[in-house]
Amino acid sequence: MDMPTPNPDLLAQKPKLVAQLRAVLPSDAVIDAPEEVRAYECDALTAYRCAPLVAVLPSTTEEVAAILRICHQMGVPVVPRGSGTSLAGGALPTADCVILGVARLREVIEINTSDRYIRVQTGMTNLSVTAAVESDGFFYAPDPSSQLACAIAGNIAMNSGGAHCLKYGVTTNNLLGVTLVLADGEVVEIGGAHMDAGGLDLLGVICGSEGQLGVVTEATLRILPKPEGARPVLIGFDSNEVAGACVADIIKSGLIPVAIEFMDRPIIRATESFAGAGYPDCEALLIVEVEGSPQEIADQLARITTIAKRHNPVEIRESQGPEESARIWLGRKSAFGAMGQMGDYICLDGTIPVGALPTVLKRIGELSEAAGHMVGNVFHAGDGNMHPLILFDANEPGQLESAEALGADILKLCVDVGGCLTGEHGVGVEKRDLMTHQFSPADLEAQMAVKDVFDPTWILNPAKVFPLAVSAGRRGAQ
């Protein structure tokens, strides 16, 4: 994976840059000592690291604006950073960049339960937003696995999803308004507590733009009343095809479960030996969760088990209470940890049309065998968002490269069956060079044209999302 050569002029200007930043920020908000900036050398894509020139931790929108004005004037690239949980390298620095962390933007600005929104500074974590409205009976719906740590700023940048988006949608469906600081330090208000845009839907293109268009410092988020209760059923099958058919039948039946999770045999075995959730040893497992009152839950689960029984499952285990629910979810929730214990892994998140599931799983099996890397599949089956976990040994020379090559083949496969490279993690640097497999030059040109409007000199996260060769002319204009 290539990154642009750091600009020597910018490296030479570090003292001037630091002095200017110190003039507008509290002294502890500018980090420039080489041993301290190393704390920002990577995000959760830890295979790639590079210490930034400087890291800044503003506490207000005005400070963010001041930082961007300085960087814009000096032509210094800015890499915005939420909590650094990106799996795609979205917050990976370059040696000549300023890392702009939002960790100190942590205020709740307004809670309005009658109009069902909350306005927050975007350094707040995903889960702390829910915590702020929980006592009023509300929650914030998007629930990425990293929700304990990940920041709303990062959620907006990556348009984060989660296990429950089949019913509630992803970030873009739950975002009403933002305060956005543009590349030149101008502060713009977009949207608000009302529901729709009056003109062009700028909010829609900002959400998921991976820090390419601006820095979101405040956000108005839709909050929803908490459901009365939720309960899952675990269904085991002896073939992936049959499990896939069962998912399609559940969806066609008219029920909308809040989650349909799928695990294949390698994952089932790995999680069993790691967490001991008591899963049957079978080819494929589904966890289907429904919400509502006790009676509604019982009725929905009865319908789901009736559908499942038509597909001759090897096991159906309906949760009878909170303890059993936790046990059913235990294996799923420990899947990443279980694979992590077996070795290093790469986690992909390509999405496919649900109907292509059996074909894709079979092909992944073949590719995995040919490449000599074990691949476990755990994913959100209701929406086709795969999560193949490719095992490798980082200490073995060449293993990372061959695992990445296998990953690229799997993602290309997702695109070829009508899907996409990434369903919720984002492109970052990880899938950047695969973008030409999914998009034509005109498609990429249209996306870059949007960046041209928001960030004409391409100082915001410039080495991400677009293949370097494709964006070279624009980045060169800096």
Partner: protein
């Protein structure tokens, strides 16, 4: 209401042909069925007539030509007991147009009905687009899958862009199962403040309200009605109707409409603003925060009003030529039905703050540098 001076109709069914037309001609008024256009524009009428239809009920997704009629698509979905969840309005009768609304027009106007309050707008159900921009470039964005964060999201940008950025040729949409049962709870005689409070309380319960609207008393004696819709499997709807009545018992007795056809007619009339069809006056559409709605309505003093989306969307009937925007605080107002003179004088789309206007203009310049599409419509 004449909005455009059509020189000629141009119809295309291949993207390459369309791209060629765009490169060599213009300006164009981008048109689907012509039922929902509210902005002013002049030029050749450009119609897209492709017939792509690729529907996967098991994945709740549909890839469809932007030229297809919404009603034809809905009929095909209904065969699989599915629908477009966001309940796209048919504004043809309100605007005095008799064409068949198209998928492209629906997306270009982000047409969303009462269910928007529960399931999101048209843009939230849009998964992918193909379009030809003003330079004649064929562009695709998004895809046919429900979760997709690959690259910048131009799908949302195209939804609601009123044809000013490109001609949509194909759209991928999320579909939704049609529920077994629909019931509508009806409170009569509430004031508008009480109604918004009722709707907010209901929307704050976990009972999945899929419609919350309020209609004023009618001259024929029909009292003011506050309407709450519940949909789902029958046992669930029965339970939730009862639970909701209990939670709102201090507001008095609510009638329940259990007849699905009756509920459907009631909500269709709200969706299509039927109440204002054939009634003289300008029609404005406001997007506001619900709790501010009754005060705003009192300040504006319209001839009539429909509260939808729990009070978040207001349809106002105004004396011709009246500007409501001076009274607006947060939120925005769109002039949906008025004479061309009034539309020219007051502007159809809401004014934007300096930077939003600048960014929007920048985007239009990128996608349509020679202003070939609906020139001047959005600013």
């Amino acid at each position: 209401m004449s909005i455009m001076a059509t020189v000629k109709d141009i119809s295309c069914d291949s993207e390459a042909q369309l791209a060629d037309m765009i490169r060599t001609g213009g300006p164009f008024v981008v048109t689907g069925g012509g039922t929902s256009r509210i902005g002013l524009a002049e030029g050749d009428r450009l119609l897209w007539t492709g017939a792509q239809f690729d529907y996967d009920p098991g994945a709740l997704t549909l890839v469809v030509s932007a030229g297809m009629a919404v009603d034809a698509v809905s009929a095909r979905l209904a065969e699989e007991h599915q629908r477009l969840a966001f309940e796209p309005p048919d504004l043809g009768p309100l605007l005095g147009r008799d064409g068949a609304r198209s998928i492209g027009g629906m997306v270009a106007t982000n047409a969303s009905g009462p269910r928007r309050v529960a399931v999101g707008a048209c843009r939230d159900a849009c998964l992918g687009v193909r379009f030809v921009d003003g330079r004649g470039k064929i562009v695709k964005n998004g895809g046919r899958v429900m979760k997709n964060v690959t690259g910048l999201d131009l799908v949302k940008l195209m939804a609601g862009s009123q044809g000013t950025l490109g001609v949509l040729t194909e759209v991928s949409l999320k579909t939704q199962p049609i529920p077994e049962t629909t019931a509508t709870l009806i409170f009569e005689g509430q004031t508008e403040v009480e109604a918004v409070n009722t709707m907010s309380r209901a929307l704050g319960t976990p009972f999945d309200i899929t419609g919350a609207a309020h209609l004023r008393q009618v001259a024929d004696g029909t009292p003011a009605r506050t309407l709450l819709r519940l949909e789902g499997i029958e046992s669930a709807v029965r339970y939730r109707v009862e639970a909701l009545q209990q939670r709102l018992s201090d507001l008095g007795e609510a009638a329940v409409e259990w007849e699905a056809a009756q509920s459907e007619a009631t909500w269709r009339a709200i969706r299509d603003v039927t109440r204002f069809v054939g009634v003289p006056g300008d029609v404005w559409r406001l997007s506001v925060t619900p709790s501010e709605a009754p005060g705003l309505v009192a300040a504006i003093a319209p001839l009539d009003v429909i509260y939808d989306w729990g009070g978040g969307r207001l349809w106002l009937l105004m004396s011709a030529g009246t500007d409501v925007r001076a009274k607006m605080g947060k939120g925005h107002a769109t002039l949906v039905r008025a004479s061309d003179e009034t539309k020219r004088a007051l502007g159809v789309f809401p004014p934007e703050n300096r930077l939003v206007a600048q960014l929007s203009k920048g985007l239009r310049q990128k996608f349509d540098p020679e202003q070939k599409f609906n020139p001047g419509m959005m600013g």
